[in-house]
Symmetry: C2
Subunit: 92 residues, 2 copies
């Protein structure tokens, strides 16, 4: 069971990396297309998903850095009007 | 470290439950509002997120049932044109 949980933890960290990459792509794309309502909807869903994961981590008392979620504030960063580089958010 | 991984696994299962609930709400809402482009964008993002989590689980050889992701096929269910009840997808 410990092995499975270790695998799940690795899986989660790998997946969250991919989700943040997707979110940054959509964010940067949406800045260039402010009238694209479909893209705005996609972006808002990613904000919801990543905010939920960050809030849940706090509820479970899990340090955000252990989930690779610490370089990033979903609402603040993804709803900002500046282009974000993946390096600044994801790399430690 | 094992304790942290157990906590992360519990956190993930709890969070995925909430994400699927959100996705079902948006799906059911979108069926009633087929012309709502913003809602379509949100739904498509949830499909992306949940499909990615299901595909990643397979890549990590994690049984979907251990993640509570087995009652559900993100693309097939969320892009169907029928109302989904949360019970059929989430409960075991």
């Amino acid at each position: 069971m410990n092995n499975l949980n270790t695998l799940i933890a690795d899986y989660f960290k790998d997946s969250i990396y991919l989700l943040i990459e997707n979110a940054i792509d959509i964010h940067n794309n949406a800045i260039n297309k402010p009238n694209d309502i479909y893209l705005s909807g996609k972006l808002m869903a990613y904000v919801e998903v990543l905010s939920l994961l960050q809030m849940q981590a706090q509820a479970f008392s899990i340090p955000l850095e252990s989930l690779k979620l610490d370089k990033f504030e979903a609402e603040k960063d993804l709803l900002s009007s500046r282009i974000i580089s993946k390096e600044e958010i994801i790399k430690t």
